[in-house]
Symmetry: C2
Subunit: 317 residues, 2 copies
């Protein structure tokens, strides 16, 4: 079975771990969000790709969900001693190695997809990890800080500002000119199932779908497309998805996110049992819907979610 | 008093510490060798400039003479885990920060001289540290390894091969096209004393002198020029200077190195008391010479050497 998953960072990575456990024989292709990529200290950092790679490769800091286990921050302290920032982004010594290798390969002319494959040679994530695009896409967020309207990089919004300001607009800069990375459209066309994990619908999956050709390939794929709600009981399970949903005029409810994706894209949608009353509303919008436990409390609970998603896909086929 | 010092790495840096102690009121300008600069992992590494900066700024690993004190090697291990080398060059986590800042500033368009000044803002070495040139110069060494003639970067010769092969030629690639960095010629022209510390006469001071205009500026300066022999009792005090002296056809003796620099360049030359019999030979070549203790066993011993050099300069004025 060929499964294609559109994934952001922590939520996507944890879901993938459950999916691998639920479908060990499946051939899984992950289309990773690169809209939150950022250049720091002259290095190319791809937070979402790395979170997937580290999580599936056994190198993740389990407690925080991003970054490396057993990490140290000597280099970051030294950069601060030189007065060189930003200091709000927590790059550890181990993590720096990934960015140095990536930057060196990109400078040598390799596309990000080839670089990602090379990095995965070490981590052996057990999935084929593709960046959504080899072209540069950077999600920017418009905010008003101290009375002044500014456009900040998504990471600055998310990490430095902790989404404490209203996101007035969310723009995946460069997306319109970006092309899907090699293999992305082919994977979608030949998929047996396409899954949207409970990643951020705006800045993770929304950004992937903003690359011309990808939304059309998902919507037009022969495979059923099933998503899992990142909103449970009217709030994001983790992260601050509600802040960026507001920016695109979408309520933070499981049903509203399903309608935001749309019946042209989704064949099925899983909501949490806490949102069972949303099932009728989602089905009324033309999307098959079931209420099942959606808290990724561990690999077994997450594997159960993946099995539910695959089951709904089977039913929607 | 304005003192200009042409310096390589460890020997130059240690001599400078003694000089600062011997002449605390002097305004010291250091013209640093950049011929051993190397790009590693996409980062610009300037070993000699950094050794001077760390040594005078209190950040050096005193035991080994290069690299940072209290250093760790997490990043290097991670790079090796990616299969990315070289592994023979020991970049530590603290040291990496310097190279990242430097590379980022160079990429932003700053010349190496401006970058060096910015790095020294942190270290406050108490001297004005100038790279010999803002242009790229890389010393290469011709060797025969396993029957095959190869040209290797000086660092590969020095660090990986530990100068175990004969240096058949030593070429400062790019030197002929290089220009002295801003301030270099001005410092030499307005110097009261010019000193050549016991740095490597071929790959450190020789490379600096190979930048068109610098040798002429040293030789033509109004200030007396005094050097200290890096060879004591027929062998280098530290390092493997004999290997590269052989490549340029110079015997490893205190007198031969003085003659190699030449009477057109040197006004005075200090040899160690072990080489007292070389004094007459050096003086016969037209260079004032004294035999004094030249072992840099500590700051006080080194300060005494510096005082001897300044005294000989005064006498040679």
């Amino acid at each position: 079975m060929r499964i294609v998953v559109l994934a952001g960072g922590i939520g996507g990575a944890r879901f993938l771990r459950g999916l691998k456990s639920a479908a060990p024989a499946a051939e899984i292709t992950v289309i990773g969000n690169t809209g939150d990529d950022i250049h720091l200290f002259g290095l190319k950092v791809c937070p979402d790709l790395d979170t997937v790679m580290y999580t599936l490769g056994g190198g993740i800091n389990e407690d925080q969900g991003w970054g490396r286990a057993d990490e140290s921050f000597t280099l970051k302290e030294e950069l601060a001693a030189y007065g060189v920032g930003p200091t709000w982004f927590g790059l550890g010594d181990r993590d720096f190695a990934t960015h140095i290798v990536r930057t060196q390969m990109l400078a040598a002319g390799y596309p990000l997809s080839a670089v990602t494959e090379a990095l995965c040679d070490r981590w052996q994530p057990g999935v084929r990890l593709l960046p959504m695009s080899d072209d540069r896409v950077e999600t920017h967020v418009a905010v008003t800080e101290n009375g002044e309207r500014r456009v900040v990089h998504f990471q600055e919004y998310w990490v430095r500002l902790r989404a404490s300001l209203a996101a007035e607009a969310v723009v995946p800069v460069g997306a319109e000119q970006a092309k899907p990375a090699p293999g992305v459209l082919e994977a979608l066309a030949s998929a047996d199932v396409i899954l949207l994990p409970p990643s951020n619908p705006v800045v993770s999956i929304g950004t992937i779908l903003a690359v011309p050709g990808i939304r059309e390939a998902v919507a037009g794929a022969a495979a059923p497309v099933v998503g899992l709600s990142p909103i449970v009981g009217g709030a994001p399970v983790r992260g601050m998805a509600d802040k960026v949903l507001a920016a695109v005029g979408v309520e933070s409810t499981a049903a509203a996110v399903a309608r935001h994706y749309g019946a042209d894209l989704l064949d099925g949608w899983l909501v949490d049992t806490a949102d069972a009353d949303a099932v009728a509303e989602v089905e009324a919008a033309g999307i098959a819907c079931r209420a099942v436990p959606l808290m990724m409390t561990g690999t077994e609970a997450t594997a159960a979610m993946a099995r539910e998603a695959l089951s709904l896909a089977e039913a929607a086929r």
